[in-house]
């Protein structure tokens, strides 16, 4: 499988660990990622607020680059890049828009007509690699780890453009994590907003929204939250002490990128997964998982003991009347 890879700016900056773990996981799964030569920023959130054609051109430029490399699909980890690339490709259907972008990029309009398709790394792993293939390659199942999968609010919306999973109740990450051996807790806020870029201007909003997410994860009994978006990870992980926890009780809740857990399950050494970059110590989650495993084993042992005792008593009664008969 030959995919063009669009890392996105945060991959080189605040979400380095997401970038490293994505590459590690893909290599482990045999997925060849060909970086788009001379890729540039996709315009992220501000660009399309200013000028649609310019924002479209920024993304189209990258897609043209991908086409040059001869790939039919572009994979990108970050939902914001995914949204910009997909919207730009979707809008190429409109002749007027395509002509304007064509002038900006001095590319002939027809070449922009059929640009390569765009998918998130999550979608590529689940649909093209396939859960069975991933399950087969799991070395270290995430036994006992209870996770709350959080997709963020733009990965699946707007539905007719993104065309990924069920827009209101996506399940791809849930299935992936289950395949890795983790236990997914029912998490109602999968696609509710974490406050995104308000973290800079209106910290109070992020505090409330992210707080609610973390509180729900805590109440659902999760050991950790798993995300697929650099901005969500920052709001939930970096600002964990600043958020308003519903019910007041703050607790350390590690926030992983799904590619980190994927890499770990596939046996990739922790150093390559950038676990040390996380603010809340990931070890807390693994320790809780271990305790959970131990607790379950203890319980099974007790059960087995009880069953054995009953069997022993029954055998003794049988031999008693046999003795009687004999």
């Amino acid at each position: 499988m030959n995919l063009a890879y669009y890392p996105g700016c945060s991959g080189l900056g605040t979400s380095r660990e997401y970038e490293r773990s994505t590459r590690a996981a893909c290599t482990a799964l045999g997925v060849k990622l060909t970086d788009i030569p001379d890729w540039s920023c996709c315009g992220s959130t501000p660009a399309h607020a200013l000028e649609h054609a310019l924002s479209g051109a920024l993304s189209a430029r990258n897609l043209v680059g991908a086409a040059k490399v001869g790939c039919d699909t572009v994979a990108t980890p970050c939902p914001s890049c995914l949204s910009n690339l997909k919207t730009a490709r979707h809008r190429m259907a409109d002749d007027g828009f395509r002509a304007k972008v064509g002038r900006l990029l001095d590319q002939p309009a027809e070449k922009l007509a059929d640009l390569p398709d765009v998918q998130s790394v999550l979608e590529t792993l689940v649909t093209r690699v396939g859960l069975d293939a991933i399950r087969a390659k799991v070395r270290q199942p995430l036994a006992g780890l209870r996770v709350a999968p959080y997709y963020g609010c733009i990965m699946t919306r707007p539905a007719d453009v993104m065309r990924f999973d069920d827009p209101e109740n996506p399940t791809s990450m849930d299935d992936l994590l289950t395949a890795l051996g983790a236990e997914v807790v029912p998490f109602p806020y999968k696609v509710e907003c974490c406050g995104a870029s308000y973290g800079v201007t209106r910290r109070d909003i992020v505090a409330r929204l992210s707080g609610r997410l973390l509180g729900a994860a805590r109440d659902a009994g999760a050991h950790a939250v798993v995300v697929a978006c650099p901005l969500c990870q920052m709001n939930l992980d970096l600002r964990q002490t600043q958020v308003e926890w519903p019910g007041g009780r703050a607790v350390d809740m590690p926030v992983f990128y799904f590619t980190q857990l994927l890499g770990r399950a596939l046996g990739v050494p922790d150093a390559e997964l950038g676990l040390e970059q996380l603010c809340v110590d990931p070890a807390i989650a693994f320790r809780r998982a271990a305790q959970a495993v131990a607790a379950r084993q203890a319980e099974e042992a007790a059960l087995a003991a009880k069953a054995a005792a009953k069997a022993a008593q029954a055998k003794q009664a049988a031999s008693a009347n046999e003795g009687g008969r004999a």
Binding site: D166, P167, E168, N169, P188, Y189, E192, D219
Partner: protein, 652 residues
């Protein structure tokens, strides 16, 4: 030939952008036109009288009226010329309103076009021949498909009118959706109290033959002489012997089989009688959950059945019925609420559909009328109703309003207060549609007397919180977001076409819209008829509607059928094909392409020829094009008549 041309002003509709007198003047110069005049309203009483007088005064033997669309007034004017003694088919129309005056303001071009359309009509009329309908006898029996309230009403009215009725119902009992209701708005009277007696009348009426658990398989023939194959699906219980005592239900070991009647709120036994007032009150085995079928061994019901009515080896059986007319009353289905993932429909046990809630409210329901939360059986204190789930929403391809959800939600809110006095109900709505008699007053009482909290706004999401559900929405009147912690959430799901409706439509050869509702002949003027003669519609199969409208349409359809049969014999449409045996060489191509099998072989002096069966031919004309030498000609649309119109335009 002596032709009269009448050009209509239609007030200003035509006169406004067409020089009507000018067209009438030009028409005087057309071949065989001996009289031409313009008239203010041709279709009006004086207008028609003027035509009759002109026919008599000028001894006309053909009339052209240039006015509106023949689809609307051709029958009217045909009767007019018939009153004046002419044959109905010595008449042609030129549509100079919908096709000319209403679509352009250029007076000169419009007048010229109108003159040409009149010229085409005159040229065709010059080749028209009088046609005489043949009469054929009618099977005075009617088939009613669907045993819901509309079908029951239609069946009873037809039976009371003295004609035999064959009622075919897909489920094992008639009653349809209404039988599942506890109470009905706006009077909150008990649904089975008003429906039950009618269902009993159906079972006891001598003129009604009921086939429950049966489906229509094939329909052939034409109005007055339909031949219908009905597949009576296997019930695995011999209904002749079953007395409906219910002993088998008590003893049946598989108690957890799906209870479709109760909308899967509760569970039931594999062999069951859906509800106490079921008609026919007979047991039926669900082969998907019955151990005898699934595991191959059980036989408890066979052992306990006092009359030995159990037949595990029962097969489907197809019976053929001959009927003269068909009334389709196949009702509707509910929108699949799982498509709204944000409401958690199908995932959260206490988020249920309105019909499931109706079963919880119903005394014959699984909880005996006590409202209990499906998750833990506790009585809910806060109930939230959400309107327009799967209605008025283009994103799920359901842009239409289902009409009755506002009313049954108000009713359910009122009943909730009755059942749980200290409960508190919320209703999230966009607009309340309460346009029937006493409807608005009823919803007002729900708001004022029963303290139902109506919140104007849509619900964005439902989040389980502990054992409650946080319903997050907006109150657009206050301009704030709202969160209601609810014990139970009831989704007012909208109506959609009954599953299998498109396939039935193709069997009936009627058309349906892209939501699967059947197309009526004219939305205002002929709501219960279809474009296929002899096939009528009643109830929600034609579009979402409440019980009063459905019953009304049931009676309307019955009235149409009684009117159809009242005339004793039916007249066949003379606009059918005819074979000129001199020109027919017996190649059989027309027989191959006739969609109705209306052409058969005939031997004439040792040669094989084609012959048209008058009563079966529907007048489509496919055979006339197929015949290379034009031996078979569709009357009133013969090759020469159409060529006359083409030549009037092109042969200059």
């Amino acid at each position: 030939m002596r032709i009269g041309v009448f050009v209509c002003h239609c007030g200003s509709n035509i006169g406004g952008t067409v020089d009507v007198p000018g067209v009438a003047q030009v028409a005087r110069a057309y071949p065989d036109v001996v009289f031409s005049s313009d008239t203010m309203y041709a279709c009006s009483e004086p207008g028609q009288a003027a035509i009759v007088d002109a026919i008599r005064e000028h001894a006309l033997d053909g009339v052209v009226v240039a006015s509106c669309t023949p689809r609307m007034h051709e029958p009217t004017f045909r009767r007019t010329v018939e009153r004046a003694g002419l044959n109905r088919y010595m008449f042609e129309m030129a549509n100079i309103r919908e096709h000319v005056s209403w679509i352009g303001k250029d007076r000169e071009a419009n007048s010229n076009k109108a003159a040409e359309l009149v010229r085409m009509a005159v040229e065709k009329l010059r080749l028209n021949a009088p046609l005489y309908p043949k009469s054929f006898d009618v099977t005075k029996r009617v088939l009613v498909i669907g045993g819901g309230v509309a079908g029951i009403q239609a069946a009873l009215d037809c039976a009371d009118g003295g004609i035999e009725v064959v009622l075919v119902e897909r489920e094992s009992t008639i009653g349809g959706k209404m039988a599942k209701l506890d109470k009905t708005f706006p009077t909150v009277d008990c649904s089975s109290c008003i429906l039950g007696p009618k269902m009993v009348d159906v079972s006891q009426h001598p003129n009604i033959r009921l086939y429950a658990h049966a489906e229509v398989e094939k329909i052939g023939g034409y109005v007055g002489n339909f031949k219908v194959d009905v597949r009576r699906k296997a019930t695995y219980v011999d209904w002749e012997l079953c007395t409906g005592c219910g002993l088998c239900m008590e003893k049946c070991p598989s108690k957890k089989s799906p209870d479709a009647f109760n909308e899967h709120v509760g569970v039931t036994t594999s062999i069951n009688i859906p509800f106490p007032q079921a008609i026919p009150k007979k047991a039926i085995i669900d082969p998907t959950s019955c151990r005898q079928f699934v595991k191959g061994k059980c036989g408890v019901c066979a052992k306990v059945c006092p009359t030995g009515a159990i037949r595990y080896d029962m097969e489907d059986q197809v019976v053929t019925e001959e009927v003269g007319a068909i009334i389709t009353a196949t009702g509707y289905d509910l929108f699949d609420y799982t498509r709204y993932a944000e409401y958690g429909g199908g995932r959260y046990p206490d988020v249920i559909t309105s019909l499931q809630y109706e079963r919880l409210l119903s005394a014959s329901g699984p909880t005996g009328g006590h409202v209990k939360r499906p998750s833990d059986g506790k009585e809910p204190k806060t109930v939230v109703f959400i309107q327009c789930v799967g209605s008025r929403d283009r994103s799920v391809d359901r842009p239409y309003c289902s009409g009755f959800c506002c009313m049954y939600t108000a009713k359910q809110a009122v009943l909730t207060k009755d059942h749980i006095p200290d409960s508190r109900s919320y209703v999230f709505y966009m607009d309340i549609r309460a346009n029937g008699k006493m409807y608005e007053e009823f919803t007002r009482r729900a708001m004022e007397e029963y303290g139902v909290q109506y919140v104007r706004g849509r619900v964005s999401m439902i989040v389980p919180q502990g054992d409650k559900y946080l319903v997050r929405g907006v109150d657009t009147l206050l301009g704030e977001q709202v969160e209601v912690p609810a014990d139970l959430v009831v989704l007012a799901v909208g109506a959609e076409s009954s599953h299998g409706a498109p396939q039935l439509a193709e069997k009936l050869r009627i058309s349906y819209d892209n939501y699967g509702f059947f197309m009526e002949s004219h939305c205002k003027l002929r709501p219960v008829e279809t474009n296929t003669a002899g096939v009528y519609l009643a109830g929600a199969c034609q579009g979402p509607k409440d019980i009063p409208s459905s019953v009304g349409q049931g009676s309307a359809a019955a009235a149409k059928v009684l009117g159809l049969f009242s005339r004793g014999r039916l007249e066949s449409d003379p606009q059918i094909s005819q074979v000129d045996v001199r020109r027919c060489v017996g190649c059989g191509k027309c027989i191959t392409t006739c969609p109705y099998g209306a052409i058969e072989w005939m031997e004439l002096r040792g040669e094989m020829k084609a012959r048209v069966i008058e009563t079966v031919c529907q007048g489509c004309g496919i055979c006339t094009v197929t015949c290379p030498q034009g031996a078979i000609q569709l009357q009133h649309f013969t090759d020469n008549q159409i060529l006359a119109e083409v030549n009037a335009l092109c042969l200059s």
